[in-house]
Structure formats: C-alpha cells, structure tokens
Assembly symmetry: C2
Homo-oligomer: 210 residues x 2
C-alpha cells in the first residue's frame, strides 16, 4: 500500500470514520452501506468510497462494509494496534488535564512521565505519574522508549525543548504551545493551537453578524 | 466585502497570519514583503497574496505589507476588535485548564461562567469564576449576553446540553466533547477533537516506520 502518498486531509478524516464505526459496532450493527455511513456522517458517499479506496477499499458491491472488520482495519492504519508511550512536558493545568484524560489510554496512548521546571512540584503525582525535573527528560526518553512528547509549556520555551527532544531521538511531538516548531521533517508534529481555533469561531460569528 | 463566501481553509489560516504579524510587530518590524512572510511562515508567497486578496489585498507593489496595519485589519476580520463572552460547561480538568488560560482573555475572550452538575463543587471558584449548577445555565446566558459556550463534558451528555444551549440562543459552541454535534447551521461550531489529533500523529508515526 502506498500510504505515504495519502494527503493529510484524507488522514485527518480517518479518526472520524473510526469514531463512527466504533459507535455502530457498539450498537451491534454488523454492516453498513456507504450511503448509510454518508447519512450519519454528513459527508458524501462518494467521498467515503474515495477515502477508503486509498487503503484498498474494504467495501463489497451490494453488501457495503463489514462494520467490525472496517473498524479494525482503520484502527490498524491509524497505528492503534500498537501502544504508544507519551511524556508530557509542562505540568500546568493543561498538562494535568491531558494526563487525567483516560480515553487516551483506552486507545493505547500511555502517559508514562510528566516533566516540569518547578522544583515545588517534583515528586508530586498526577494520577499515578510522578512529576520529574525537566533535566531528567532525555534519560527518561531513552530508557523508556518514549514515542511522543506532549508540549504543554509556554511558547517562549517551546523551541529549546523541541530541540532537546529531537536530539534525544523523539519521533513525534503533540504541540499545544502557541508557536510553530521548526524541527526536521522526520519528526511528526501535530499542533493543537487552541487560540487559533477560538479565533476561527470568532471570525464565523463576526461574518454571520453582517 | 464578500467574506461569507470565503472557504474555511482560508479562514483557518488567518489566525496564523495574525500570530506571525504580531511577532513581527513585537520585534519592531514595520513592513514585510510577501516573500519575507513566506520564508518565515513556510507557505508560498503566492498563497499569502491569494489569501489576503480575499479581504481586499492590503499589500502595495514594491512596498509589501505594513505590519501594524495588516495585524490590526486581520484582527478586525477575525472579530477580535469586539469582546466575546464565554461560559464553560463542565468544570473537570479540561474546563479548569481553559478557565485558567489567560491568553484567551488578552484576545477578548472573557470567561464569565462555569457550570457543572456536581453539587460538591457549586460555589467553588476557578480563578475568580464561580462554579454554578448547570440548571442555571439558560438564565445566565440570557442575562449576560453570552456568545460562546465551551463544552468540556463527556460525549454522552453533549447532545442534550447542545440542544439546551441552542434553545436559549447561544450562537457558537467550542466543542471538546468527542462527538459531532447535530445543531442548526446557524450555530457556529468549532470542534477540538483531541483524540482525533493524537490518532493523526499515530498514523504518521506508523506510516514512517515502514
């Protein structure tokens, strides 16, 4: 499969397919046509077929999709058949909120360390994870095979921390700092810029007002 | 200006322009060419020109863009020249993290109420905002002219709460519940599906591994 050439737009839609298929599965539904999926997901049936064809199809003319099978397969495509180890850099409110979010673990995203630069909270626990000094970050990543670093730190510190993460072999960064990271293309970066999202909402409100 | 016809992709890029122009402004830079902006933002100069032309251009041949003016204008387009009043539904970790995020207030997004269904925390304060029973939500929205409701509640409750919000006249929902809301197109919805974002990262990690 030529997965590497698939656009980020298609990939961005896969979690949503996964979510809807999981719901159908939970409801005991065994098969679904692209038209039915289209009705509940509010995208065209043709887009669904096109998107899924990137990964080899899965549908059968006159039958539709087998819900359980498609759910499993999309899960594998999304890499959810393997566990991922994550650390959080920044034990502030947002870092704590993410560490406490149990839904991530259900999908195999395991938080195994939290790092901060405030000595007052070293050794405290968030859920059952100890807050450690950020100086220990590199050793921890290497000895625990950490895949993903979550940045919940102010934007002023983000570039320096990202550089240190890359130097010690991190492969992916989930970035909540409100700045774009300037790292090698080998490193996967996914930004969650909350303020940008709120501004988009504000724009849509303003343009409706006219 | 025909702002209503502008695609969500263009609108999604505006906050990023705004962020970079703010940085240039803070550095005391007064003018910038689309080529310079292209170099720092890592998008093509032609895309920058095209995006900004949707709103009337702003650039001058041979001069480029006036940083301060363009920053102000994009801010106005994004509706940041007006204050927005927000309430948070769900005073769990994520709701608390958002309430504590002062950067939102700097941009005119003012949290004025937090609602929850746990009597144990009614009356407690998050920053200086009191946690109130969710039963008081409707009256509060009406008497405080709330624009935006932030949903940081489990997905099981999201649909019912969204329906109540719409009934009492809310105009925008910033949705962190991991479910798509089925509301009228008149209501602006911006989803932050954290797990989807993490799955995208996981996909990109998996496809790199091959």
């Amino acid at each position: 499969m030529e997965e590497k050439e698939i656009s980020q737009a298609v990939i961005g839609r896969l979690p949503r397919y996964f979510r809807y298929l999981g719901q159908l599965k939970d409801e005991g539904i065994e098969r679904v046509s692209s038209q039915e999926l289209s009705d509940i997901m509010k995208v065209t049936a043709s887009q669904i077929r096109q998107d899924l064809n990137h990964f080899g199809g899965f549908g059968q003319q006159g039958y539709g999709y087998n819900v359980g099978y498609l759910y499993e397969e999309i899960g594998k495509i999304l890499g959810l058949d393997k566990e991922h180890k994550l650390i959080i850099i920044g034990a502030g409110h947002l870092g704590q909120a993410l560490a406490n979010y149990v839904n991530f673990e259900r999908r195999g995203f395991i938080f195994c360390g939290i790092f901060d630069n405030d000595p007052a909270i070293y050794g405290t626990q968030i859920r059952d994870i100890e807050v450690r000094p950020v100086e220990e970050m590199e050793d921890f990543i290497k000895s625990n095979n950490v895949d993903i670093a979550v940045l919940t730190i102010p934007k002023q510190c983000a570039a320096a921390i990202a550089e240190r993460l890359v130097s010690c072999g991190i492969r992916a960064i989930w970035n909540f700092a409100h700045v774009d990271l300037n790292v090698s293309e080998e490193i996967q970066v996914e930004n969650v810029h909350l303020l940008d999202s709120l501004m988009k909402l504000s724009y849509n409100l303003a343009s409706r007002r006219k």
